[in-house]
Symmetry: C2
Subunit: 232 residues, 2 copies
């Protein structure tokens, strides 16, 4: 009871504490006893760890169970199967992501430009801090429309970026203003590309540039192209 509350109600911005960092090695939990406490959460965290290391399809339900120090059969008390486990990881990821983006957006207000740039930085920061969630969300092949709840929270995350883009695009002369959804799609694509290629052990990893710098400068050039930053 105490333990559960401790884990569940540790302050409002829940996303500050990386979920997976809470997992303990099996031997530390060996005095756990018959009941687990919050197995659903522990399994999600185990899945996130495995997703990070082995990819979204590279781990088994049994491995996740083992990592949570539990019998494979116990998983079925909380999830329909492996897919469901990944979907939960993605859902939780979108939830955190939406909060992160919202927080970044607000931190830049009332300046539209500052808000927009903050969300760009937050995107990359999220990918760095929550790689398992990020992979579950964007690389696992999970459909966003798997459940209404997942669709809703993914939509919420997306809306923040679109609102930031909308705000900013109001500063562009109306006749040369692209649809703000296209605008935000461009930025989303650049951010995602930078993450995938330059912030992982991926093809572009041996680049001489830090992903953060690459994204910052790339967005800068793009915004200049829209006439939102002065040429100096």
């Amino acid at each position: 009871m105490r333990i559960m509350h401790q884990a569940e109600s540790s302050g409002r911005p829940e996303w500050f504490c990386a979920a997976y960092s809470v997992i303990k090695p099996a031997h530390e939990m060996s005095k756990r006893g018959y009941h687990h406490g919050n197995l659903r959460k522990a399994l999600t965290e185990a899945a996130l760890r495995l997703i990070e290391v082995k990819g979204p399809t590279g781990f088994t339900l049994s491995e996740a169970a083992k990592l949570a120090d539990v019998t494979p059969a116990a998983v079925y008390r909380h999830f329909d199967g492996r897919e469901d486990l990944i979907a939960e990881a993605a859902r939780k990821g979108y939830e955190i992501f939406a909060d992160v983006m919202q927080y970044a957006y607000e931190s830049g207000q009332p300046s539209a430009l500052a808000s927009f740039e903050a969300t760009g930085r937050a995107y990359l920061a999220f990918a760095r801090k929550y790689p398992g969630h990020y992979i579950a969300m964007f690389e696992s092949g999970i459909s966003i429309n798997r459940t209404p709840e997942l669709a809703a929270v993914a939509g919420r995350a997306r809306a923040v970026l679109e609102i930031a883009a909308e705000d900013l695009s109001r500063h562009i002369p109306q006749d040369k203003r692209p649809p703000s959804s296209m605008f935000s799609a461009h930025i989303w694509a650049m951010s995602h590309g930078v993450v995938e290629l330059f912030a992982r052990n991926s093809p572009g990893a041996q680049s001489p540039f830090l992903a953060e710098d690459l994204l910052e400068s790339g967005i800068g050039v793009y915004l200049r192209g829209l006439g939102l930053i002065e040429n100096d």
Copy 2:
């Protein structure tokens, strides 16, 4: 003998014929006999198909063997294991990719801008036409430095984009010219992001924009930001 030559030497730009489209359903090959002809190639193609459908870690060596209408044990005559199979798919992909990019680059010459834009378009076209190769190259987690050969061909592909960027950046006043490798990294990231988010069943798939249009317009804004396209 005849069959092998037919498959191997069907004209110079080999990448015009999608590799996997050559595979036939098992029953059509049932009169194949004891020897296969070109099992190495058939297995690579089977792997590419499976990668497309199930992801790079979502298929087994046995499945690939079955798809090639062959015993699992036969795979070991040609590959060290599943990883090796994926690496070969990636290697082949980079080879095709480098040719595609080179061809696009040349088709735009002598205009630096036309060459550059053609490579951008070629990137997306490649991802569309060779999804299995694309996934093996960029999403499988295969290290580019796995073998010297793989590193070499990946470097060749990359060099084309960098040369195109280098050519183009010569048109920027020297004092506001970013390093051309950063320039090409931005474009690579945007292209990759568009592919991942808007040209698959991915989170951005329900976007109102066609990936091709998104990439074209995104690169356009970016180039305007560098002063390479006039404001009109």
